[in-house]
Structure formats: C-alpha cells, structure tokens
C-alpha cells in the first residue's frame, strides 16, 4: 500500500484544531464583553433614573460618623478616606494578632494529636471537631454575648493584678512612653544584626569542624541582653500606666473593647482548629522511616524534630496554612455583625450614608484582594525556599 503524503490541512477549516480554538476564544471574549457591557449599561441607566451619583469624590467629604475604636484618633469631621483607612488598620490589627495566636494554638493542638497521652489526644480531637463544625459567625456572636452579658459590669470587674475584665472589655497596664523604650527598640534591632552575624559564623564553624553551636538559646540571650542594655542606656524607665476603677468605667491604662475581643477570640479559636488539622496532616505525611533513620544516625529527639521531621513536614504544611491565614483575614469581615469597625463595617456605614454601593463594595473587594494576593506572594516566596531542591 502506498502511504502517500498526508492530506494537506486547510488552516481555515473547521477540522483544524487551531482554527476551532481561535473561534472558541473569539466567541468567549464576545460573550463576556457582551455580558459586562449589558450589566454596565443597565447600571448606568439605573443610576441616572434613580438619581444616584457615582464616582469616588465622596471620599474627600466629611464622614460625619464616629468610630468606636481606632489606632489613632478619628473625628467625625474627618473625611471618608480617613475612615476607610481606620477600617483597614482595624481589619489588619485583628487579622495579624489572630494569625499569630491561631498559629500557636493550632500548632499545639496539632502536635497534641500525636501525644502518647490518650487524654491529651482526645482533648485535642474533641476541640478540633467541636470548633470547626460550628459556623464562625455563630461563634463570634456567641463570644460577643458572653463578653457583654455574662461578664460583670465595669464597677464589679474581675481583677487579676492590674488586669480588669468586664463588660467594658479588657483593661491592662501599658508602659508610659519614654526614651528608654526607644533605646530598647534600638537594642532589639541591633540584636537582630548580631544574631545574623552569629548564625553565619556558627554555620561556617559547623561546616569547617562539624561542631554544632547553640541555635536558639544564645541568640535569645543576645536578644534579651541587647534590649535590656538599650533600656538601661535610655534611663531604665519603669513607669506603667495602670488602669484604675473609676466611677462608671475602668479608666486609664490600655483597653481592648469587647467587640475586638469577640472577633479575635472567635477567629482564633475557629482557625486554630483548621490549623491543627493542617499541622497534623503535615507531620503524618513524613514517612516513619525518616524519624527512625534520624535516631539510627544518633540524633536526639530535639535534633530529629528540628533537622529531619520539621523541614519535611513544613513543605506539606505551608500551602494549606497560607489558605487558613487568608481565610482568617477574609473571615474578619464578619466583624460587621457585632459592630467592630473593620473595613466592611465602615464601608457599610458609608454605603448607607452616601448610597454609593458600587464604589464602597469595590473598595472592600480591592482591600481584600490586595491583602490576599500580597499574602499569597509572600507565602509562595517562602514556599519556594522551603520546597524540595530537585536536580
């Protein structure tokens, strides 16, 4: 049989895969553009008919509402964009503190699942199952009820040392700002440089002689010594601003509102249950033989964990952990339900006052998108460093 030459393909025929691909894409682009145009057209028409103004010029107007809590003072005469800025800082504040606390608690719970003690194992399992199977919004509201109704009123606040807990929130002593703290901060910054230098030297020493150096206690000592030195150089200020019982409320000192505490508690406890599962999965994914091989080489339990188990577990842990961090940040938007002035809550108020739904909602979405993408980038960078270096 004569094979002959294959039939010549016509590039502009429906039988050519490339041509079909082009057609599909053109159809998809046309359809999506059409839908977007349709929606945008309707929106513009609707806005004109209902007399809704559009544009971001309202951001410069005076907001006219007060904000319950903020990192820096805010006055109702100030502009909307300042209000949004406060909302963003409030969101970030609760998210960052929540992420730190949830990571600590979640790691403890996840490691606890491998305890040799059945009680500890059972307790960690019950915690995880209980907290991740109840909606986070319900947990936030429940904590808010507990914090605002079960706790005593301010005049009968529970007191532990100089800490007060009541319906008014948590009051705690804060150091009075003096040059000493600034010097201590300088000391901490300096200690980081010293620790970096020390670790470099220790690694070179290890490579040259095989002698491991203390990787944790000495740097910690450097950190403490440097900050203490800075603090002493700055005149060693010891003055604290203590909260005191006032006529109607606890006065002075630092304070955390019940709204903030409820959001923080709810988000931390909920996310910790997911992080615990992530950590458990990560540790379980390391093959048993790895740990046994490490002990066969004569590494002690500590070294085995630090040098063999953790680096391998972290590769599995980091991607889902990033997702949990992002989830916590996004869930902080539920703060609107209990009146913590996060960015969603501020946008909601601004929306109700100005009626500019499109603008306010896009600001919220943009803020979260930037936070999400930023966190993903950071974690991807870390992940690529921790990933297996393959040939």
């Amino acid at each position: 049989m004569n094979p002959g030459s294959p039939p010549k393909k016509n590039n502009w025929s429906w039988r050519s895969q490339a041509f079909r691909g082009v057609v599909y894409q053109i159809v998809a682009i046309a359809a999506i553009t059409g839908v977007v145009w349709f929606l945008a057209h309707n929106t513009l028409v609707n806005m004109r008919i209902r007399g809704i103004q559009s544009g971001f010029d309202f951001l410069a107007q005076s907001a006219g509402f007060d904000i319950g809590e903020s990192l820096y003072p805010f006055d109702s005469d100030e502009s909307y964009w300042r209000a949004f800025l406060i909302g963003i800082t409030n969101t970030l504040r609760v998210a960052v503190i929540g992420i730190i606390l949830a990571t600590i608690l979640g790691t403890l719970l996840g490691v606890g699942r491998f305890s040799r003690n059945a009680l500890v194992r059972g307790l960690c399992l019950s915690y995880v199952e209980l907290f991740r199977n109840i909606p986070v919004l319900l947990q936030l509201l429940l904590w808010y009820v507990v914090l605002t109704e079960v706790l005593p009123v301010s005049s009968e606040a529970w007191q532990l040392g100089h800490f007060f807990l009541s319906k008014g929130g948590l009051n705690y002593p804060i150091p009075v700002w003096a040059t000493g703290q600034l010097w201590a901060a300088f000391g901490i910054a300096g200690s980081f440089v010293l620790i970096w230098l020390y670790r470099r030297w220790a690694r070179l020493q290890f490579e040259a002689t095989g002698q491991p150096r203390s990787g944790f206690w000495l740097p910690l000592l450097i950190l403490v010594a440097c900050s203490l030195l800075g603090w002493a150089l700055g005149g060693a200020p010891t003055e604290l601003n203590y909260p005191v019982r006032g006529e109607f409320s606890i006065e002075d000192g630092g304070a955390l509102t019940p709204e903030f505490l409820a959001v923080l508690l709810g988000l931390t406890l909920y996310t910790a249950s997911f992080i615990a599962e992530v950590v458990r999965g990560g540790i379980a994914s390391v093959a048993r033989g790895q740990g046994e091989a490490a002990s066969a080489l004569g590494l002690n339990r500590n070294q085995e964990m630090r040098l063999v188990m953790l680096p391998q577990a972290l590769r599995v842990i980091i991607p889902p952990l990033t997702n949990q961090y992002l989830n916590l940040t996004k869930n902080s938007s539920l703060a609107v339900a209990i009146g913590y002035p996060d960015v969603v809550s501020i946008a909601n108020t601004a929306l109700n006052q100005t009626g500019r739904a499109v603008e306010c909602i896009s600001i919220v979405m943009l803020v979260y998108l930037i936070t999400s993408l930023g966190t993903s980038l950071l974690m991807n960078w870390y992940n690529s460093r921790a990933a297996i270096k393959e040939r």
């Binding site: 929106t43 609707n46 109840i134 986070v136 509201l141 869930n331 539920l334 999400s372």
Partner: protein, 368 residues
C-alpha cells in the same frame, strides 16, 4: 580430645507483657512514663473540675419548661425553656404558623435526597432528574399557590429549610459552573484560561460577605429597567458563584492528578477533546474529588449563616429574631445560640464523617 556437653537449663523466658485489654491500654496510654502520668494528672484534674460544672449547668440545674420565671431563681442553670418556647420560630422562621408542616415535609424530602445522594446505590443516571423533581417539589410546597396551598412569599421563608435550601441548591447549581471553569483553567486556549483564572482568583480573594453585599445592593442596579429579582434568588446567585470558584479549584486538583498518559492514550485512540474529558479524564478525576466537594459543601452549609447579615432569616437569623423580639426571653439568647450550634454541629459533623469515609473508600484501591 573429647568434650562432653552437659545439659544446662536456660532461665525460663518471662511471660509476655499483656498488651491487650483495658489495663494494658491504660498503662501504655495514660501512665507510660512520668511525663505521661503527670500530664494525665493535670489534664484529668482540669477535666474533673470543669466537666461536672458544665454538666450541672447544662443538664442537672437547667430548666426545660417554657417559663422564664424559673430561670430567674438564683443558682439556676441553663434556661432551655427558650428553646421549648420558641423552637418552631427558630426552626421555621417567620413562615405562617399553621402552614409549617409544608417546610417540614419539604426539608425532610430534601435532606432525604441529600442522604440518598451520599449512597453508592443511588449513583445512577436518574439521580440528577430526581434532584430536579425534588427541588421543584420543594419550591411548590414552600411557595404554594397551587393545589389549594396558600401562597407564602419568599421573604417569609426562614430557619432550617432556608439553610438547607441555600446550601444544597448552591452546591447543585455551582457544580456545572465549577466543572467548566476547572476545565477552562487547564485549557490550552489563552483567552479562556485567563478568564477562568481571573474569575477563580477574584472570587477566592474576597470574603463571602462582600459578594453578598454585592448581591443585595448591586444586583438590582445590574438588571434592566423594570426587572425585579427576588432577594432570595440574588443571594442564591451570589453564593453559587462563590461556591463555584472553590469547587473549581478542587476539581482542578482532581484533573491534575489524572496521569498524563491517560490523555495521550485517548488522543492515540483518536478521541476528541470532549470525548477524552467525558470518557477518560472526568470519571477518574471526579471520583477523586468527592471528599473535597463534600468539604466545600460543609463550608457552604456553615457560610449560609452569613445571609442573616443581608436580612434573610435562615437558622441563625431566625433564632436571633425569635428571641430578640421577646423581652422576657431576650436574656437567655445564649441558650438559643447553643441550640442552633448543636444543630449545625450535628449536620456538619455527620457530613465530615461521611467525607472521611469516602476518602478511605477512594484510597482503598491505592492501598493494595
């Protein structure tokens, strides 16, 4: 030379250590060494101190009768009377009191179908058709206006039926979207791939609450003049689009796990793109993603509690409204929260157990 070996008895072997039974379990799991014993004592002590207190509050000193005066007595425990008094308003929301058998039947039908869909026996071609029939029946029962049933507008729907409806309908509706988007993200066509990636990343980057705000405030602006869309439908569209992005990522994970050789083999056999996907890739990928889809369903089920913020009274919103509207019972809203927390827990825990079971079934073939 002759050496004689005389019999030398070796010492008897010790009896094997008992490794079974409760005593051995306690020894190895609670009292193995001093560290374990110490933590047993500490954790056990804490539990012994708090668990009786919690039990006494929740059960022994609690009042179950629908009388709030009982709860005002000093030293009274939980006031479950709030549930006894309000349970119908909590579970069915503002649905007309005399007609509440309708949401009950509708919910039982839908839940029954959900449970049935989890069983292998029912994984037949007619299952999607059954879903359509039951959903239609659900709407007829809830909305009424036919066969002598009075009409009940969607703004009076609420409670558990609404929660289950939102969760299951958004799952069913989001699945085809998710499938197409997942295929699109792995497509070779750059335009389609870009659109699908943007959609997924955009949705996954924002919280559900902002999508719900959009559904509630912006969708009315999107519609042509004179077209009014029910708030329930708008929220449903919002949740569906949100859930679809997450499911798409799960399905994409399944697609990636299908070995490349499968697609190449299909191409060698001369199958077209859609034939390859339908007959070769999807059957393998979808079997793998069932646990992931199930987990998504659990989160969607929990997330439906958010619609209370845009004034739809699902289980949590219904509870808040029922208890807050009554000044006598308002102080006992915490018990109300515990009650619905229990409902959510029962549903989500059952589903997560099922998801674990499916995962084991899927992995069984790999364990040989």
């Amino acid at each position: 030379m002759h050496t004689s070996t005389t019999f030398q008895p070796i010492a008897p072997r010790p009896a094997p250590v008992n490794t079974e039974g409760p005593a051995a379990w306690i020894k190895s799991n609670l009292l193995a060494d001093w560290k374990t014993t110490l933590s047993t004592l500490i954790v056990g002590g804490i539990l012994l101190w708090y668990v009786p207190q919690i039990l006494s509050w929740a059960l022994f000193k609690a009042h179950w009768a629908a009388d709030f005066n009982l709860c005002k007595i000093e030293g009274a425990g939980a006031c479950w009377g709030v549930v006894t008094e309000k349970y119908r308003a909590i579970i069915f929301g503002r649905y007309p009191f005399d007609e509440q058998w309708r949401p009950l039947v509708a919910t039982v039908l839908l839940t029954g179908l959900l449970v049935a869909s989890c069983m292998r026996v029912f994984w037949r071609a007619w299952l999607p058709i059954l879903w359509l029939v039951v959903l239609a029946l659900f709407f007829v029962l809830m909305y009424g206006n036919v066969a002598g049933l009075s009409q009940v507008d969607t703004d009076r729907w609420g409670g558990l039926p609404l929660t289950i409806l939102l969760a299951s309908l958004s799952l069913v509706a989001s699945f085809p979207i998710a499938l197409l988007v997942a295929l699109g993200r792995r497509s070779n066509l750059p335009a389609i791939k870009t659109f699908c990636t943007i959609y997924v990343e955009l949705i996954r980057g924002v919280p559900l609450i902002s999508v719900l705000f959009m559904a509630s405030f912006m969708f009315p602006l999107f519609m042509p003049q004179g077209v009014q869309i029910d708030v329930l439908l708008r929220v449903l569209v919002g949740i569906t689009l949100f859930a679809a992005a997450y499911s798409a990522e799960v399905i994409r994970g399944g697609l990636q796990a299908v070995p490349k050789g499968q697609v190449e083999a299909a191409a060698t056999l001369g199958l077209s793109y859609w034939q390859t996907q339908r007959k070769i890739v999807l059957p393998q990928a979808l079997a793998m993603v069932v646990p992931g889809i199930m987990n998504n369903f659990i989160s969607t089920f929990k997330d439906t509690s958010l619609v209370a913020i845009v004034s739809l009274y699902e289980l949590m919103g219904a509870m808040k409204m029922a208890v807050n509207s009554d000044a006598d019972w308002r102080p006992y809203i915490m018990e109300g929260y515990f009650f619905i927390a229990l409902i959510y827990f029962v549903f989500c825990f059952a589903m997560s157990r099922y998801s674990h079971w499916v995962e084991k079934q899927v992995n069984k073939s790999k364990l040989r």
